[in-house]
């Protein structure tokens, strides 16, 4: 891609990500906040493509937009009462939080600008094959442990979220 096109698409994706993130942080309506997360995740997926992480971009869309976001919307619908949906996401302590966030951002900015990162520009190339080889060779054990973690989380979520219905023979 030519350089100015790369810059333009980076700016657009960054604006999408941060604008949606601002809606998540500042909207009073929990449904607006949840749906704005869609733009945020999509923007980050686009940034992954620019960083030549094409597989991660697909995973980001599949897992976050397809899975986590749907889950969050279900939780919102099941817990928010319809009559007060407009003020369902109220905030408290904004002044103190703003101060703390400003201090943290200043610190992060100082670290990021004063550290001499040995950064270099690399050409964009697909990384999926290399990622697959890394998962099946060097990172095989963490990969398998990750699948067990997912299984445990799935069973745990089912056990936690079900209603405790006692059958007749259990009551005796």
């Amino acid at each position: 891609m030519p350089a100015d096109l790369t810059t333009l698409s980076f700016l657009a994706l960054a604006a999408l990500t941060l604008g949606s993130g601002a809606i998540v942080a500042f909207s009073k309506n929990i449904i607006y906040s949840s749906v704005a997360l869609l733009g945020c995740f999509s923007g980050i997926a686009g940034l992954y493509v620019q960083l030549s992480a094409d597989f991660l971009a697909a995973v980001q869309i599949l897992v976050y937009v397809g899975g986590t976001l749907t889950l969050i919307l279900f939780a919102v619908m099941l817990t928010a009462r319809i009559e007060d949906i407009r003020t369902s996401n109220t905030a408290t302590g904004r002044g103190a939080a703003f101060g703390i966030v400003t201090v943290v951002l200043l610190l992060l900015g100082k670290v990021a600008t004063t550290t001499p990162w040995p950064a270099e520009d690399r050409p964009q190339m697909p990384a999926t094959a290399k990622l697959g080889h890394a998962f099946l060779a060097e990172y095989l054990l963490p990969f398998e442990v990750g699948s067990i973690v997912l299984l445990g989380a799935m069973i745990g979520a089912v056990v936690l979220a079900r209603r405790a219905v006692k059958r007749d023979w259990e009551k005796q």
Binding site: I72, N89, F135, Y139
Partner: protein
């Protein structure tokens, strides 16, 4: 403008700040979870940016995959807990949940 490492770090840092702000100010427990998702995404973006510009290889992307795995499990468990809390208290506003047992 030439897009380089510092621009990605800026985006990730601002996203992290927004997530931190959300976690600290929200009263709704689901809103707090949205803030956690923002923070995790900012960290993952930093991993991929450092891998592309500094480290090389694919190790940063591997770590990002693990972040996505843990974020998915965390969201499932946390939303199940939120549902149970709502059944018990009829509210998920974090400043009203002061008892561990009702």
């Amino acid at each position: 403008m030439h897009v380089s490492l510092i621009h990605y770090l800026t985006v990730a840092a601002v996203l992290f700040g927004l997530g931190l702000f959300t976690v600290m100010t929200r009263r709704n427990a689901v809103g707090i979870l949205l803030g956690v998702e923002l923070i995790l995404n900012a960290a993952a973006l930093n991993f991929v940016a450092f891998e592309h510009f500094v480290a090389g290889g694919v190790s940063g992307q591997v770590f990002t995959v693990f972040i996505i795995i843990l974020a998915a499990s965390e969201a499932a468990i946390a939303l199940a807990i939120v549902l149970q809390v709502y059944r018990g208290f009829r509210s998920i506003l974090s400043d009203q949940l002061t008892d561990l047992k009702n």
